[in-house]
């Protein structure tokens, strides 16, 4: 019988552990600012989660087709007709900063 005991993180063996530098790299890929002082804690928390999911690696999945989606459905196409009208003003009314119908961001090209 499979109970919780086998799911506890401490049973997951050596497992994965993330270093602070890796956290920094992942955070950059995700475009998330992570303050210096939070990196240690975050590395520990993320390592705990990775240790936990690591138990998947013990399962032989050779020959098993990956399942990306629950339903085997083909993507249907709609006729290529204009159905939506432009609502730029409404959409831009909730933007942080706009000018002349454009979204403003800090200067990208010097």
């Amino acid at each position: 019988m499979i109970g919780f005991a086998s799911l506890k993180t401490e049973d997951a063996g050596e497992g994965m552990s993330l270093e602070r530098q890796e956290v920094e790299k992942i955070a950059h890929l995700a475009r998330l600012a992570v303050p210096e002082e939070d990196r240690e804690t975050l590395a520990r928390e993320l390592s705990g989660i990775l240790d936990f999911v690591e138990q998947m690696s013990a399962v032989d999945t050779g020959g098993v087709e990956p399942m990306a989606h629950p339903l085997r459905m083909a993507q249907r196409l709609r006729p290529d007709r204009v159905t939506e009208e432009s609502r730029r003003e409404l959409f831009q009314s909730i933007a942080p900063e706009t000018e002349a119908g454009l979204y403003l961001v800090p200067k990208v090209i010097e």
Partner: protein, 484 residues
């Protein structure tokens, strides 16, 4: 009035026992009086609700009533509502007034329902306790020191405390069924694709599904009828027309084969919960169902696989929150990268950041095969377990949660322990099956939920089983104290 079912309210409104404006005022008063102690709503739209109620009254007087004309409901704050703030429980969207309605929202509008407001939830639906909300935790109406479950915790608490007649929820790994169980109400997660996801803020797109939450299966059936069906705006929404769910309710369950997965009743299950479930199965047998043991041998892998698949999809979905077109933007960004990084760091809470980082890692070069692809293969094994089980049985019954509602603060600092509170519900999302939770008892004076899992698009059979059970018992009518 607040103890009347949606069915009774529809009759009361049609008979003219009360108007929708009176009913709506009555519920708004209750919210004002009781919700400060529960925090189940993020936004109450009194003005909008009364206007909708006025229109419903007019339609009813003219004999033009729609199925839910004048019935006050609430939407989880994950559904876009035109002109009304849609926060998704996040600081990121604290200032977001949705420019359009989600399909679920427009269908309830067309059905004549009155929206009282938007319910509290875990931030971006990531959580099992409602403690990750930017707007503070929701308190369980049965014991205010305890969580209502999550992520649809506000909807569950609002229904349990009779602060709306019914509410919508969404379920990615148990987010309808787990709070329904912990708050003693009935909640249904339909088959993936049964209900449109258009305008429902995406967390994990291959798992997310919207569903109804109310006190009984009969009410849930009425709401599902409104929600279900094809939508040209969601290409993953099933084309097949939904059946008549109210008609399904009457189906006899004599001879129904119910499977109990042996792996779900072992170590880790609270003994009080187990006792209530046992009594419920005896009731089902008395109603003529046949209960047999089945096996779902890969269920223990569902939580690990989920915590790769869901964060991977979340890291991709939440990339859109960049501080440029809508949502939170940091003060005085130095450059574009600083704008992205600080806006996201300030806008997202801890749990959301953890999941974005895990997902980013799992999808990054060199790790994709070991995590994401591996998890998808495990997902196939989990779905295959169910396919085999449904060759033997019509529906599956199991605990919805390992225990009753836990204390606020008990699990919030330990992500993995929190994740394991969804051990019985997550596999259903990975497979894409319909599942529901119904109240079947009390343990330590707190509600216990029974999960019923059906085959693809077989919601009707789940509803009939739940309805027959509720006709023979009254656990779904049990109400928390202190809600009058």
């Amino acid at each position: 009035m607040h103890n009347q079912s949606i069915t009774q309210l529809i009759a009361g409104l049609r008979n003219g026992d009360y108007s929708s404006v009176e009913l709506t005022r009555y519920f708004l008063d209750r919210i004002e009086r009781l919700d400060p102690g529960l925090n189940s709503y993020i936004t109450v739209d009194a003005e909008g609700a009364l206007a909708q109620a006025g229109i419903a009254d007019q339609m009813l007087r003219q004999g033009n009533g729609s199925p839910l004309s004048g019935v006050p409901i609430a939407h989880k704050d994950i559904f876009c509502t035109q002109g009304v703030r849609t926060s998704c429980g996040s600081r990121m969207l604290d200032n977001f007034i949705a420019p359009y309605d989600a399909t679920v929202v427009s269908r309830f509008k067309e059905a004549g329902a009155v929206m009282l407001g938007k319910t509290n939830m875990d931030e971006f639906a990531m959580g099992s306790s409602n403690e990750t909300s930017f707007y503070g935790p929701v308190h369980n109406p049965w014991d205010r020191a305890r969580v209502p479950g999550g992520s649809s915790g506000g909807s569950a608490a609002a229904v349990a405390a009779r602060l709306c007649a019914g509410a919508t929820g969404t379920d990615t790994g148990g987010s309808i069924r787990q709070p329904a169980a912990l708050c003693g109400i009935t909640g249904l997660k339909p088959t993936y694709g049964r209900v449109s996801r258009y305008g429902m803020i995406a967390f994990a797109s291959s798992l997310d599904q919207a569903g109804p939450m109310a006190r009984s299966a009969e009410e849930v059936a009425l709401m599902l009828q409104v929600m279900a069906g094809a939508d040209p705006r969601d290409s993953t929404c099933a084309e097949e027309s939904p059946p008549d769910y109210a008609a399904s309710l009457g189906q006899d369950i004599a001879g129904l084969r119910i499977g109990l997965p042996k792996e779900f009743f072992g170590e880790g299950l609270d003994s009080g919960v187990a006792a209530s479930l046992e009594a419920a199965m005896a009731q089902f047998r008395a109603l003529g169902a046949e209960v047999v043991e089945i096996s779902l041998p890969n269920n223990h892998l569902s939580v690990p696989a989920y915590y790769v698949v869901a964060p991977a999809e979340c890291s991709s979905n939440l990339a859109r929150f960049d501080g440029v077109r809508f949502g939170h933007r940091c003060h005085a960004p130095q450059n574009l990268e600083d704008l992205y990084k600080r806006s996201r760091a300030e806008g997202f809470g801890k749990e959301v950041k953890r999941r974005i980082l895990i997902g980013t890692y799992a999808l990054s070069a060199g790790y994709y095969d070991a995590y994401y692809l591996k998890a998808q293969r495990i997902r196939q094994l989990i779905a295959a377990d169910f396919r085999r089980a449904f060759e033997q049985v019509d529906i599956i019954a199991s605990p919805a949660t390992p225990g009753t509602a836990f204390a606020i603060g008990e699990k919030i600092d330990d992500p993995v322990t929190m994740y394991l509170s969804d051990i019985y519900t997550i596999a259903v999302n990975l497979a894409g099956l319909p599942g529901m939770s119904i109240p079947v008892g009390l343990a330590n004076s707190l509600p216990v939920g029974l999960q019923l899992i059906g085959n693809y698009f077989d919601e009707g059979r789940l509803l009939s089983a739940a309805h027959r059970f509720q006709q023979a018992t009254d656990w779904h009518l049990a109400a928390p104290a202190d809600i009058d």
